[in-house]
């Protein structure tokens, strides 16, 4: 009885996992089908895969440029967000003053406001500064989304690390900053990895700000992918191939960063 119940549970788990992966599978198969096969009814389960869609997408210089723009902007955003987010998060975690608490609240309040509310003032500021259609404009504005998130995640994580560890490091001759980077940060890899993954995904999928602030030089992938949809129809093959290509960096980054999650549990000072 118990064994059959377990079998049912496992089967159910597989159904849920496969069910949630089905859209991705559909995307992948559509990207490998010709336009004619993509919507054939009943769906063509067995078909001769074609890489035409990928070749067509990769031959589009505009899409490739947007792809490269996305990679540059998002990596810069994640790096800056981590540098500033770790420092700010540490300050919020370790200082209990009224001003620090107010600052923490202020940071998260920025995240609560709708993007449209900021769009016009940011646009005008960047226009005056000559930053429209530049990488710094996108990095700065993406950081309004990712930095509060990273700061709060890191503040929460730092609070969970016993202050005695730092105190021990200080006794051993570390300054506050070296204690942070030599003791606290190595012990916080799981938190940093989580913050980095989410910051990467948030920035990678951002549509509204690049729509308003980017131009021909800095258009990002989420904007470029919309080009497959127009009044004349949707290029499903191209759209699917481009989607798979857009998912790839997120997947690679997540797999790469995930190691940090595991490493953090065994490395650093907590053993």
């Amino acid at each position: 009885m118990r064994r059959s119940l377990r079998a049912v549970r496992i089967a159910l788990t597989y159904v849920i996992v496969l069910g949630s992966l089905l859209p991705l599978l559909w995307l992948l198969t559509t990207s490998l089908k010709t336009a004619r096969d993509a919507f054939s009814m009943p769906p063509a389960l067995f078909f001769l895969p074609t890489f035409e869609n990928y070749l067509a997408v990769l031959n589009q210089s505009d899409f490739l440029a947007a792809y490269v723009n996305s990679i540059i902007v998002v990596i810069a955003t994640v790096l800056f967000s981590l540098v500033f987010g770790i420092s700010a998060g540490y300050t919020i975690a370790r200082h209990n003053g009224r001003a620090t608490r107010a600052m923490g609240l202020w940071i998260i309040l920025v995240r609560m406001a709708p993007a449209m509310g900021f769009a016009l003032p940011i646009y005008l500021m960047f226009k005056v500064l000559g930053l429209l259609d530049t990488y710094p404009a996108l990095v700065l504005v993406y950081m309004t989304l990712t930095l509060p998130f990273v700061t709060w995640i890191m503040a929460g994580y730092f609070r969970s690390i016993p202050i005695e560890l730092e105190e021990a490091a200080r006794v051993d001759g570390c300054t506050r900053v070296t204690a942070l980077f030599r003791v606290v940060v190595p012990a916080s890899w799981p938190g940093i990895a989580t913050a980095a993954i989410f910051a990467f995904i948030m920035a990678w999928n951002e549509f509204f700000y690049p729509l308003v602030l980017s131009g021909r030089n800095t258009q990002t992938a989420p904007l470029a992918i919309q080009g497959f949809i127009s009044d004349s129809g949707t290029n499903w093959g191209g759209l699917s191939a481009a989607s798979i290509l857009i998912i790839l960096p997120v997947l690679v980054f997540t797999i790469f960063t995930q190691k940090g999650l595991v490493r953090g549990l065994t490395a650093g000072s907590i053993k």
């Binding site: 449209m116 016009l120 429209l132 800095t218 904007l223 919309q226 080009g227 009044d231 004349s232 129809g233």
Partner: protein, 434 residues
């Protein structure tokens, strides 16, 4: 401590400056530079490739930004609404023309059109069928079309023959469409008689309804020609709703309430439906052998309706931005991108099958490339185009939304035709009072 703070600030500033250095530059120099904003589509992507030719001819440099359709409104609101003067020429489409003119973001072009030194008569004579006049607002022309999305009826010739209908004599009125749809509808073999847009997403179903309503004599005005938008309880609207409901609930595929033009196009290409009423830009893809199972078997018909301008024409045009400091150069660019030469290039590239200029369709190269039946139907449709098919007031989208909700209720059986449209009419009155 103070020193550390200063060092930190300097570090941040340096990072931003370093990044600025990495940023692609926008160019400079003493030559005139224009900035052009268009909505991304195959047609505008092609126009972008033709811009270097303009620069070669005139010495005027042009930066082209293409914005996805989904973000068009937000981009326009911020870049034009801020008055920052980022763009000199922008694309205007039927749905946002009223907003662009009401907000004074674009300027009238009459002074250029009337000036023979700036505009040769051969340029304006290519816009036949009153397209330019129908785009005028208060007698002023604000945009020059490069694409007109006139609607037409597509049909599967083989299915017509199999149903005992003459493929060379397609239906030309909505009454005939209804009668043909009945004969062509064969659910037992997975064949629907008719297709139109059913989804309320993006107010798509209201577009199909408006196509039929215009054919039935409906207009956004009263008998005296004054604007009127609470028209859903009038005869033309009632008749249209009954026809739409009959066609979509009896002769369309099940689940058509979720069909937009994308799903309709796929169903036609897959040979799942016999007739489809929609915009002419969607037609050429039915003849694409790599995507369509019915390529070579497609028929085209221009429907006839009441009044002169009974075809819904989603116009895409180019307008000069009010804040531009380069008026003359901007007008030169508009003229170039809406010229016969560029129109022919668009048509031959297969991306501008519905040019704003009818003289493009008489070009021998274009006539050779397209199905004569398609060109004939297109020429006929363009003659009766009505670019003001959507309410050209700021509340236009909301009004379309009210109609879409009503149609959605009808298709899902939540309300009768009359109840749904009366409710929508009341909603429109509320929207107008806001």
């Amino acid at each position: 401590m103070k020193k550390r703070v200063l060092v930190s600030i300097a570090a941040v500033a340096a990072s931003v400056l370093v990044l600025s250095g990495c940023a692609p530059s926008g160019g400079g120099g003493s030559e005139k530079t224009l900035n052009l904003l268009m909505v991304q589509s195959p047609s505008t992507t092609r126009l972008k490739t033709l811009v270097p030719e303009f620069t070669k001819e005139t010495g005027i440099k042009v930066n082209v930004d293409l914005v996805p359709q989904a973000g068009m409104q937000a981009k326009y609101n911020v870049s034009l609404g801020s008055g920052a003067g980022q763009y000199d020429v922008v694309e205007a489409v039927s749905t946002n023309l009223s907003q662009l003119t009401a907000s004074k973001w674009i300027k009238p072009l009459n002074s250029y059109l009337d000036d023979k030194s700036q505009t040769p008569s051969s340029y304006t004579s290519g816009f036949k069928g009153g397209v330019l006049d129908s785009l005028a607002i208060d007698g002023k022309t604000y945009t020059i079309p490069f694409e007109v999305g006139a609607d037409m009826l597509y049909y599967n010739k083989d299915m017509f023959t199999a149903a005992g209908l003459d493929p060379d004599n397609p239906p030309t009125t909505l009454t005939e469409v209804l009668s043909a749809a009945k004969k062509l509808n064969k659910p037992e073999i997975g064949q629907a008689g008719f297709l139109a847009r059913g989804t309320r997403q993006g107010n798509e179903n209201s577009f199909s309804w408006i196509m039929m309503w215009l054919l039935n004599g409906g207009r956004w005005e009263d008998a005296k020609g004054k604007p009127k938008y609470d028209v859903l309880d009038e005869e033309a609207a009632r008749k249209t709703t009954d026809q739409y409901a009959t066609l979509m609930t009896k002769y369309a595929p099940s689940g058509v309430g979720n069909y937009g033009f994308v799903e309709d196009q796929a169903a036609m290409q897959q040979g799942k439906a016999a007739m489809w009423l929609d915009g002419a830009t969607l037609g050429p893809s039915l003849e694409d052998k790599s995507a369509s199972k019915i390529a070579g078997h497609v028929g085209y018909a221009a429907l006839k309706g009441e009044g002169g301008n009974y075809i819904a024409g989603a116009v895409s045009g180019l307008s000069v931005v009010d804040t531009t400091k380069n008026d003359k150069e901007a007008w030169q660019l508009v003229q170039y991108l809406t010229s016969k030469k560029v129109g022919i290039d668009q048509a031959l590239a297969g991306v501008g099958g519905t040019p704003g200029r009818t003289d493009v369709l008489t070009d021998p190269g274009v006539q050779k490339l397209y199905d004569p039946a398609y060109l004939a139907a297109l020429s006929e449709s363009i003659k009766h185009v009505n670019p003001e098919y959507s309410p050209v007031i700021p509340q236009g989208t909301e009004i379309r939304g009210a109609i879409s909700v009503a149609l959605s209720k009808i298709l899902s059986g939540q309300a009768s035709n009359e109840a749904a449209m009366n409710e929508a009419n009341q909603e429109i009155l509320k929207i107008l009072k806001k």
